[in-house]
Symmetry: C2
Subunit: 179 residues, 2 copies
């Protein structure tokens, strides 16, 4: 039985998080749930409120993730609203918005809450937006090329060893195993 | 002294609301405040929570407004996130996202709360997105052309007599004056 749950409405994210934490010998359960999110430009603020909201429902130790794609030329758009923007204008829309400046970063914030201790851990990955979508993948993966790579996230075989999500979960795991 | 306050961080919206309600003999004060907003695709849900949050701070009868531009071709984008999208990709970004299908609507929801009674009133205005920005105005006004008009909102002299905001405030005023 898991003693730690990942609360999210997105099974793709859970799937990645489970595999990554498995590498640290942490077993992760899934609580599929649509959580209330505040509108804020601060991923940390969104994360804290969401973790508290999740705990009030689940009443078990949990982690949640907030992540976003931040595009320099677009002042950080879609940022905290990445999920909504993906569902509406999608990758095609993002590509239509860009000219030559294509620098972007993915940020993931993992927040742990067990009713007493609230801790957040972030991971970042710098890269750029491709000229067109390449590869099969969810979200913005087909249009994001990490720095020092020539493949999009959707093509990368080792995404779970280099992603923003891997970095934030690794920080979390090191803390969790020694707390 | 006003006995009704408009709570918003946006003085442009207050200015329009004050002028419109003046036509109904309702005096409107301004409480400039950044309110917490949840992320939701439902303007009504955002509005209710925001009105309650505003009242917990101000403790006086108040109205708040939630509005958005909903573009058909973009599945309703930018919708509830209009303010964020305007600040990041702006009108130029919206224009880059569109091809030939340009139908859009503005929606305004006015929510009243006095600690006991919570009521919402909505106003809609159908139109289309122009090919380029025309006129000086705030927000999406320079790119929105109401149906049966050949001018953008930014050029219209009678915006306050036909806008989504006018329609929601008129409904509110009729209710407020007879409650």
């Amino acid at each position: 039985m898991s003693d730690l749950f990942f609360v999210s409405s997105n099974p793709h994210k859970y799937d990645e998080a489970k595999k990554i934490l498995h590498g640290f010998d942490i077993k992760l359960g899934f609580s599929k749930s649509e959580l209330e999110e505040i509108q804020s430009n601060s991923l940390h603020e969104i994360a804290r409120k969401k973790a508290q909201h999740a705990f009030s429902k689940l009443k078990k130790p949990l982690i949640i993730e907030d992540d976003g794609l931040f595009i320099d030329e677009l002042d950080g758009f879609p940022g905290p609203y990445s999920s909504y923007v993906f569902k509406t204008i999608g990758n095609k829309g993002i590509l239509n918005l860009l000219t030559n400046h294509r620098r972007a970063k993915f940020i993931s914030i993992i927040t742990f809450f067990d009713g007493e201790t609230l801790e957040s851990f972030d991971g970042r990955l710098l890269g750029s937006i491709s000229k067109s979508p390449v590869g099969e993948g969810w979200g913005f993966d087909p249009i994001f090329i990490p720095n020092n790579s020539d493949k999009t996230f959707a093509e990368a075989r080792d995404k779970n060893k280099l992603s923003h999500r891997y970095k934030s979960l690794k920080k979390f795991a090191n803390w969790y195993l020694h707390k």
